[in-house]
């Protein structure tokens, strides 16, 4: 249910405006490697790999079973947002009663279900919680995926603020307090880029040329030959 709406660009060759393609090139042979010849390597030390075939990794892949296993219920607000990863909407099955019951209860108690889910290749901790009349499952980061800042040197010798300073700061915060509204925030860079795109569309654009077909290749060869002759 979340989207990356940032403006998408493609890399082009500046001099002729044509798209660039990415290729997997073998460092040793300096040749493009076909997909069938690729494998995954785990780097155990610099430039030293344990090689895995796609099949080996496929076998180890956990089964994605579309099931959320809820272990317990926690206060929704007690989970720090740094753990939040991605949210997905849950929809009721044919018999919507259990869904409705869970949604209502969570809404009334302010609780969220904490549990696990396997999505594609990864098992995630999750929270199931209400959002705008629907149940949402939000995947969470593991503890080891979030840095613990408490050990940072810069934080070791923080000065104790004076009482007057604290009072003043608290007053400022009170004055600036309000309801949080996500709509108040706009990506100004995105807006500027979109304006630029609109301007460019009215004026100069770079049209993408379709890949040259076999017959056009032959024409180009003939063209080069004739151009050479005509120059003589």
């Amino acid at each position: 249910m979340t989207f990356d709406k940032s403006v998408q660009f493609r890399f082009l060759h500046k001099t002729d405006g044509q798209p660039l393609k990415y290729e997997r090139v073998c460092i040793k042979e300096d040749k493009v490697v076909p997909w069938e010849e690729t494998a995954k390597g785990y780097e155990i030390s610099k430039d030293e790999f344990i090689i895995f075939s796609k099949e080996e990794l496929q076998a180890a892949r956990p089964e994605s079973d579309q099931r959320i296993r809820i272990d317990k219920f926690v206060d929704y607000l007690s989970v720090d947002p740094v753990y939040f990863e991605r949210s997905y909407v849950l929809t009721p099955e044919k018999d919507s009663e259990p869904y409705s019951l869970l949604l209502n209860t969570l809404q009334k108690t302010g609780k969220a279900g904490a549990g696990r889910i396997t999505l594609r290749t990864k098992e995630h901790p999750v929270l199931v919680h209400p959002y705008k009349g629907a149940l949402i499952v939000t995947t969470l980061r593991y503890a080891y995926e979030v840095a613990d800042p408490s050990g940072l040197d810069e934080l070791k010798e923080l000065k104790e603020p004076k009482k007057e300073e604290l009072d003043l700061a608290r007053k400022i915060i009170t004055d600036l307090s309000g309801e949080f509204n996500i709509e108040d925030y706009k990506d100004t860079y995105k807006e500027k880029v979109e304006q630029l795109i609109e301007k460019k569309m009215k004026g100069e654009t770079i049209t993408v040329e379709k890949p040259v077909k076999e017959e056009a290749k032959q024409l180009m060869a003939a063209l080069q030959e004739t151009l050479k002759q005509l120059k003589q």
Binding site: D16, V212, E215, Q218, L219, L223, T226, L227, Q229, L230
Partner: protein, 287 residues
């Protein structure tokens, strides 16, 4: 990539234009590209009239004297008032490779050129004898008449150049010095035609008798301003993709067949029998 070499935007390259031989538009364009060094000498600075076959030779084509709408700005245009059309005609001048490629992309399977340069629209530099047979006469009959005609021109001290019409006949051209009027060249061709008609039962020299079965018309009427002949090395819209190929007079003999000179064979021909034609402008004995 293609832009590096031509300004033309290719379209429908895989469209089949000659169904019997399965020749695609790409192959037609390739022919024009490869023949350009030879063709452009004849096309340059001469008004071109197109016969276009966007759906291939098995469908009806259309003549186009005017540059079509959508003609790119880099194509040279020659504007000229036409008495018969009673308006200005915007002729295409196929002066460069890009224009020729563009004509190929328009499926212009026939490119016809005037017998005078644009700048000298009413003063021809080519005199054309168009030898055009009617069934049941065959190509050997055409060859006979052409050889007799050549002898006549030889006797007058004129060097003549021959090419396939690409259809049923032969075209014989005498390049002439600038200064003649079409009326003079037309009368000259007519006069020779009348002589041939006297000597041969097959030949007719007068327009009303042309198209009669079993005759060969020596057409003099093309020698008029605004009239055209198919460009040397130009394709024809025939099933066999025949070409109006310039010939060496030694090739003009019994057994010569128009379909032997087509898109595939002409592309491979190295000889260029009309090579010196522009340096060979001659004087006519005319009144």
């Amino acid at each position: 990539m293609v832009e590096k070499f031509t300004k033309v935007k290719f379209t429908n390259l895989d469209k089949i234009l000659y169904p019997e031989l399965k020749i695609t538009k790409a192959q037609v364009i390739e022919y024009y590209i490869k023949m350009a060094p030879k063709m452009l000498k004849f096309l340059a600075e001469r008004p071109a009239v197109l016969n276009r076959f966007p759906n291939g030779v098995e469908h009806e084509g259309f003549y186009e004297k005017d540059a079509p709408s959508g003609t790119p700005s880099w194509v040279k245009i020659f504007e000229r008032y036409s008495e018969s059309a009673e308006r200005e005609i915007a002729y295409i001048l196929c002066n460069d490779l890009d224009t020729l490629i563009w004509l190929g992309n328009l499926a212009a399977l026939e490119i016809h050129i005037t017998l005078a340069l644009a700048k000298a629209f009413e003063r021809p530099d080519f005199v054309l004898f168009d030898i055009d047979p009617e069934l049941p006469l065959g190509f050997d009959d055409v060859v006979n008449v052409a050889l007799t005609l050549k002898q006549k021109l030889d006797d007058l001290g004129l060097r003549s150049y021959v090419k396939m019409s690409g259809k049923k006949g032969l075209h014989i051209v005498v390049p002439v010095k600038e200064g003649y009027a079409f009326q003079q060249t037309r009368e000259f061709v007519h006069k020779i035609g009348k002589q041939l008609a006297k000597e041969s039962e097959l030949v007719v020299s007068e327009f009303p008798s042309s198209r009669e079965p079993g005759t060969i018309f020596v057409d003099y009427l093309q020698n008029s301003h605004g009239r055209t002949m198919v460009c040397p090395y130009g394709l024809r819209a025939t099933a066999q993709a025949t070409v109006s190929a310039p010939l060496d007079w030694r090739e003009v003999k019994k057994g010569l067949k128009p379909e032997e000179l087509n898109l595939f064979s002409v592309i491979k021909r190295e000889k260029n029998p009309w090579e010196g034609i522009f340096e060979d402008r001659q004087q006519l004995e005319v009144s």
